[in-house]
C-alpha cells in the first residue's frame, strides 16, 4: 500500500480517543459511582483503530465484554457510553446493559454478549443476512484469544467459510484470558492457523502497529466487499490493565511487572507518534491533541453524570417488545 493512502492523522486521533476515553475511567473509577465492571482496552488501541477505519457506518460490528474501543472506533458517542456506565437513562442502553452490553443499532452494533465466544456467531449471522439480502454491508467481529477455545468459534468459522459470508473475524490475541496465559490453554499460539484449516484467508499481524493492522484490514475488506468470502485477522498485542477494573496485574501477583514494562515500550500510540515525526507531527502537536480530546471527554463525562437514573418501571417495560398479536 502506498503510504500516502493511509489516513495517518485519523488513525492517530482515533487511537488517542480510545486511550483517553479509558484513562478517564481509570481516573474516576475510585469514586465508586460508576457501578459497572470495566474491562479496559488500554494497549490494544491499534487494532480497533486500524480495522474500523475501513468500515462504513452501516456495516455491522460485534464486540465483547471488552467493548468500549470498538464502539468508539465505529463512531459511538462517548457520552452515551459514559452515561451507560453510570446506569443512566441517557446511556446507550438506557442503563440496562452497563459496560459489557453496549448497543448502537444505528452503527450496526445490535448488541453485545459478555459470554465468551457468544458474539462470534452473531457476526456470522449479520453477514448471512447481508448475503441473503444482497446488500453490500460487511460484518466484523472482534474477540479475544480465549474466545477461540469455544465451540462457537469453530462452528461459526466453518459456516462462514461454507457460505462464503462477508465477515471479518478479528482475534485480538493479547496472550491472556482473565489471568490465564495462552500457553496454559492452547497448544498453538497462532490462532489464525486454525482459520486456515477452514480455508479462510488469514493474516497474522503486529497488533501494536496501527498501519500493519490497517493494511491487513484493507486487503480483508476489499475481499469481503468483492464477495470473496470470510477473512481472519489475528493481531498480536498485550493488555496493560487487569482483566477487569483499573488496576494492573503485577500488583496482584498475576503477572510480572517486567513483562508489562517491556510491552509499554511497544505502546501503539508512542510507536505511531515516532513514525509520524517523519510527517512533521511533533510531541507538542500530540500533547495538544491529547489535551483537546481529554477536555471533550471531561465534558462528556460530566454531562453523562448529570443524566437521570431510569425509572423503576423501565425494567418491567423492557422485557418484551410491544407489538405482535
Amino acid at each position: 500500500m502506498n503510504t500516502a493512502e493511509i489516513p495517518r492523522r485519523d488513525l492517530l486521533e482515533t487511537m488517542v480517543l480510545l486511550r483517553c476515553f479509558e484513562e478517564k475511567i481509570v481516573e474516576v473509577y475510585g469514586r465508586q459511582d460508576m457501578k459497572t465492571p470495566v474491562h479496559l482496552y488500554i494497549g490494544q488501541e491499534a487494532i480497533a483503530t486500524g480495522v474500523c477505519a475501513h468500515l462504513r457506518k452501516e456495516d455491522y460490528l460485534v464486540t465483547t465484554h471488552r467493548s468500549h474501543a470498538h464502539c468508539l472506533a465505529k463512531g459511538a458517542d462517548p457520552q452515551a457510553l459514559y452515561a451507560e456506565f453510570y446506569g443512566r437513562v441517557d446511556g446507550c442502553c438506557k442503563g440496562m446493559g452497563g459496560s459489557m452490553h453496549p448497543a448502537f443499532p444505528d452503527l450496526g452494533i445490535i448488541g453485545t454478549s459478555a459470554i465468551v465466544g457468544g458474539g462470534i456467531p452473531h457476526g456470522v449471522g449479520t453477514a448471512l443476512a447481508s448475503s441473503l439480502r444482497g446488500d453490500d454491508r460487511i460484518s466484523v467481529v472482534f474477540f479475544g484469544d480465549g474466545a477461540s477455545e469455544e465451540g462457537t468459534f469453530h462452528e461459526s468459522l466453518n459456516f462462514a467459510a461454507l457460505k462464503k459470508l462477508p465477515v471479518l473475524f478479528v482475534c485480538e490475541n493479547n496472550g491472556y484470558a482473565t489471568v490465564s496465559p495462552l500457553f496454559n490453554r492452547q497448544p498453538n499460539p497462532d490462532v489464525s492457523e486454525r482459520a486456515k484449516g477452514y480455508g479462510i484467508t488469514s493474516y497474522c499481524v503486529d497488533g501494536n502497529d496501527v498501519e500493519a493492522v490497517y493494511e491487513a484490514a484493507d486487503k480483508a475488506v476489499k475481499q469481503l466487499r468483492q464477495g470473496g468470502g470470510p477473512v481472519f485477522i489475528e493481531a498480536k498485542t498485550y493488555r496493560w490493565k487487569g482483566h477487569v477494573g483499573p488496576g494492573e496485574d503485577w500488583k496482584t501477583g498475576a503477572r510480572d511487572r517486567e513483562e508489562l514494562e517491556q510491552w509499554k515500550k511497544e505502546c501503539p500510540l508512542k510507536r505511531y507518534l515516532a513514525k509520524l515525526k517523519e510527517d512533521g507531527v511533533s510531541a507538542s502537536d500530540f500533547d495538544a491533541l491529547v489535551q483537546k480530546t481529554d477536555a471533550m471527554l471531561d465534558a462528556a463525562l460530566e454531562e453523562a453524570r448529570k443524566s437521570e437514573f431510569p425509572p423503576t418501571e423501565q425494567m418491567y417495560e423492557l422485557l418484551y417488545r410491544k407489538g405482535g398479536c
Binding site: K35, T36, P37, E84, F85, G87, R88, G91, C93, G95, M96, G97, G98, S99, M100, H101, S113, A114, I115, V116, G117, G146, A147, E149, E150, G151, A177, T178, V179, S180, N184, R185, Q186, T252, G253, A254, F309, P310, T312, Q314, M315, Y316, L319
Partner: protein, 343 residues
Amino acid sequence: MPWTAVCISKDDSLRFEQDGHRCLSYVEALNEAQRQALDSDPEVFLIGEGIDDVGGVFGSTKGLKEAFGDRVMDMPIAENGLTGVVSAAAGVGMKPVLVHMRADFLPMSMDQLTNHAAKWHYMSGGQTSIPLVVRSIIGRGWGSAAQHSQGTHSMFLSTPGLKIALPSTPYDAKGLFLSAMQDPNPVLIFEHRWLYDSVGPVPEEMYAVPLGEAIVRRKGSDVTIVAVSQTVQQAIQAADTLAEKGIEVEVVDPRTIAPLDMKTIMESVSKTGRLVICDVSCKTGGYGAEIVCRLAESDPALLQAPVHRVSFPDLPTPNSPVLEEAYYPGVDDIIAAVEAALS
C-alpha cells in the same frame, strides 16, 4: 446446635468460638473441603477456568495448585466440551470437580449435563454412572447485569438424574461438598458470592451433610419460611425482627432442591399453616413452585393462607444501580411477605 446455626454477625460466631468450636468463613470451608477431598482420594481432580489464578476462584481454590499439582488444572474456555470430557472421566471412575466462576456459565455445560451426564446411568441400564461435581457461583451487584448475576439452579430442576445443592452456611458448604464427592451421581453445587465471607462453626475433620435432607434453622409456630442460599440469612434476620412483634417464624432450609425434602417442609407447614418461600433466582419455575405444587397434590388443606414467594422478578438483571436496588428483594420484602401470609 452449632452445626445448624446461621451466624449473621461476628458476635454470633465469637459465641461459638468461646464454646470451643472452630469457626471458618464459607470460602475457607470450601477450600478446606476440596483440599481434604484431594488429599483423601487420588482419583479426585479439579478443573476450571482460572482455578489456579492468584485469586483462586474468589479464594475457594487458593493454594490447591501448589499442593496438588496436575490434579488442579486450568481449563480452556470451552465449557460444553470440557463438561463432556470430565463426565466421561467420571464415567470411568474418577472424581472430577468442575468449577464455573459464575452460575451464568453453567448453561454452556447444559447440553452435556442434561443430555448426557444426567442420563448416562439410566440409559446404560445402570452400568455406567457419572460421579461428577460441578461448583458454580451466584453473584450480584455492581452492574453485573443480565449475563453475570443469574441463579441458574432452577433451569436444571426439570432434568431427572441431577442433584442440586445450595449451601447457606460454612458448615454446609463443606459438608454438602463432601457428600457430593461421595455421591455416585452428577451433583451441581450453587454457592453464593455474598455468603463467601460469612463465618460459622466448621469441624476440622471430614463430615457429610446428606443430600436431600432439609434442616430447620429456627423454630416457630406462626409461619414457615422455606429459604435457600443467601436468603437463609435474610430469612433469619426477618424472623428476628418479626419475633419482636410476637410473630414466631420457622425457617426451613432444604439445602438441596433436588432431591427435595418435602417431609420436613410438610411437617413445618402442618404446624404453621402458612408458607413463604425465598429464592435467589427468578420466580417462575423455581423450586418454590415445586414445593407449592407438591403440597397441593398431597394435602392442600395444610395451607390456611395464600403462599407468598420472595424471589427475583421474572426479569433479566438490569445494570443501573437504582434498578438493581429495585430488582433484588431484601429482608423487608420477606417481612412483608410474612405479614401478608398472616393477614
